[in-house]
Symmetry: C2
Subunit: 454 residues, 2 copies
């Protein structure tokens, strides 16, 4: 047991008291919490290296821990393991305003980063609902509401510092827009959920704050009409910044939770970025498309605080869902399908959940083909939980049949390992090869991403 050595290294920054470390053994997923052996709070990459060396010597696995906001059990121990929390590595390392990029330690959160950037007129675009860390977001290849315009972590991570399973520190990528100099190690670690290395620094791309921003909501009599509107918008090449669908169930939940006056109908939440004239033009075009597809009146949010309220309502959909029933939790699905299959996938899914004995609000990053059904199950109700699992299973099978993926942005973690073989076929062996070559002793976040039996 390496606890003594870790305590020698970090003294009070190696935590072992059960009440204190409990929060490092749970996340936002429906999977049962489990205590790590101990929690290390390194303050430098050198300390991370020492932790890796100590754990490697003792054959004790390490789970990199960010904000604990995983929806798929990505940070839950599956065996006796150390949690390595990056929370004290939360410095902005170097800001490069003229390069539109910033290098941060992995424990910096997205809200912290954007608060820092605000006065410089730039922003970091990727916005999952939670205030996740940049290291965690890189590890799950996160995306969010404005990925339709500004892309996901896959595209926005320029460079990484990574501590490997053997204690080596490497830097992948450069602070440049593009490079053709060898293998793309950055994207080997982006989306690997801490199973191939421990990300300690992240360089991400930034964008200038747009000169003008406008947000709006518009309701439709049916989901199909909302989707047809989105397709027309994309087909016309309108550079929409956000286009989010909430079905009538989600609208009901959000209305109650956020105190927004909304018709209980499928609704698109939209945002336009550009010059003043550009935003006006985009708004008019999209209103026209919506009108052609029986959309209602646009309700505009133009002032910054109104827009913030609108998007807060959208980001709080998860909490609004949770508030639909007392003593419950949310099991969130996360499929992403080709845009051409989105309507089919949504409508078949709606039919499937119509008579479910659970509230099932649905929200979607529909410009990307990604949507979430939030299955609101009672705590300690195994039957409901089973039902939610079955719905999710059918949804994943449907999405994969339509050429899609079991996870658009939440990652695989524990819960979706069982879908990996159906999704990737023989390529799963190539993934296992990567894992074996980079972490031959299986010390980094074991039991995640890859199924056991490949």
């Amino acid at each position: 047991m390496p606890i003594q050595a870790l305590t020698n290294l970090l003294s009070e920054r190696t935590l072992t008291e059960q009440a204190v470390i409990a929060k490092y053994g749970r996340d936002e997923s429906p999977y049962p919490p489990a205590l790590p052996l101990a929690v290390c709070l390194p303050e430098s990459v050198d300390e991370v290296v020492e932790i890796v060396r100590i754990c490697r010597e003792a054959s004790t696995p390490i789970i990199p821990f960010g904000a604990g906001s995983s929806l798929e059990g990505g940070v839950l121990p599956t065996c006796p393991a150390i949690a390595l929390s990056l929370e004290r590595m939360n410095r902005i390392v170097r800001y490069h305003p003229h390069d539109f990029s910033v290098t941060v330690q992995a424990g910096v959160t997205r809200l912290q980063l954007n608060a820092f950037l605000q006065e410089y007129g730039q922003f970091f675009s990727v916005d999952p609902g939670a205030d996740a860390t940049l290291g965690g977001m890189a590890s799950t290849r996160a995306s969010g509401t404005n990925t339709v315009r500004y892309a996901s972590m896959r595209e926005n991570v320029l460079a990484l510092q990574v501590v490997l399973a053997d204690g080596q520190v490497i830097r992948t990528g450069k602070n440049v827009r593009k490079s053709a100099a060898g293998y793309d190690l950055t994207r080997v670690f982006v989306g690997a959920e801490g199973t191939l290395g421990i990300i300690t620094e992240v360089t991400v791309r930034l964008y200038p704050q747009p000169a003008a921003v406008a947000a709006a909501m518009v309701s439709f009599p049916s989901i199909a009409q909302a989707i047809h509107t989105v397709q027309a918008v994309l087909q016309a090449g309108i550079p929409i910044a956000r286009v989010e669908l909430l079905d009538e169930v989600a609208i009901g939940a959000v209305r109650q939770y956020a105190g927004l006056e909304l018709e209980v109908q499928p609704t698109l939440f939209l945002e336009f970025h550009g010059s003043q004239a550009g935003v006006t033009e985009q708004s008019e075009q999209v209103q026209q498309f919506a009108g052609q597809h029986t959309g209602g009146i646009f309700r505009w949010a133009l002032a910054p605080d109104e827009r913030a309220k609108l998007w807060q309502a959208r980001h709080n959909a998860y909490h609004a869902a949770k508030a639909m029933r007392p003593n419950c939790r949310v099991v969130s699905t996360d499929v992403c399908v080709p845009l051409s299959q989105l309507e089919t996938c949504l409508l078949e899914t709606k039919a499937d959940i119509l008579h479910a004995a659970l509230p099932c609000p649905l929200v979607g990053h529909v410009g990307d083909g990604n949507f979430h059904v939030m299955l609101v199950v009672e705590n300690d109700n195994p039957q409901e939980y089973l039902l939610a699992q079955e719905i999710n299973q059918r949804l994943v099978t449907r999405a994969q049949r339509l050429g899609g993926t079991c996870s658009g942005e939440h990652g695989i973690g524990l819960g979706k390992r069982k879908f990996m073989l159906a999704e990737h076929g023989t390529a799963i062996h190539t993934m296992q090869l990567l894992k074996n070559s980079l972490d031959p002793k299986n010390l980094l976040n074991p039991g995640k991403v890859l199924p056991d039996d490949v």
Copy 2:
């Protein structure tokens, strides 16, 4: 020797006649041609698998061959090897207009693809100078003149079919905008220059043709002023589609070659995409920025044929450089630096080449921080070639010192392996690990990308 077995498999599609196979042993690089043992022209992935099995059995290396337009010796044999040309695998496999994507066999070229797409109002954006194949472009992580807006192959490849060194066929990625389902195998092969697997199918993202397009040229008294203009454009978040710099030497060459009336000054070639109003607004803003930085009068190319002529002139810069001297070839440099370092890198480079005994036209994808000095050396003049090598060496060292990369888009091939250690440090060992795990017998394009001594 597996030649007999390959002939049994493909009959007349296994080429061995020296005069016929010579073109598969050279490319656009300055490195000496070398004959492959034979050239295979498979027509299906099954045939590629069989070729791999036969060559593996005989321990004969395989070099995947696209259009032969590599500028870095990426397809030159470094030992007795088979060239596997994808030229007969040139079918458009599936077009997904509503997904803005298309799946093609690896031998489809970019001009072929865009000719196919034209009637559907969509286009494939990545445009290196050559009419490269999609497989080759994926393999070198290619980019081009509109990468500043539409990104590079890194971002635009959605999925691949790959034949591995052991003959397994895998599919990486899906026809979806995003996925967080496991390791990003697609980007393991994008940029690997055929050293990790043979790409047989590529699914790429497409874009709707913009409603309006305008192109223009504007000259500046100095490169610094041109760069300041570009920085102001990017800082303002103007979604410029192309912004290319040609220095006064390149303009001199292009003027002569393309018969364009141009002032012999550093010049930006620009393109604007958007709605009619958007293009007008962007044009006005950029003219204002250029004016503030002593730019001259904008010379517009609005009609499709005028624009085509303008961009043909830009794409022909390489040939224009070659036409500057009789009996010569071009050694092209390819550094990419952080945008903030571009001016420094350009000006130091200009100072370095000012008194060189060679014509040195310079062209740059300056919105990405990437530029090329085209060193025009006499054939069979080892002294000039040495001089070019020295200039390139100093330029790479300069770019790396400024935080940049030795290759923005041409790849490593043979010629830049010597810069890899300085660029990647210990990460080079991680690259070698990938190579060892995916191609343990070193059968796929050996002697490329990674230096020998790591």
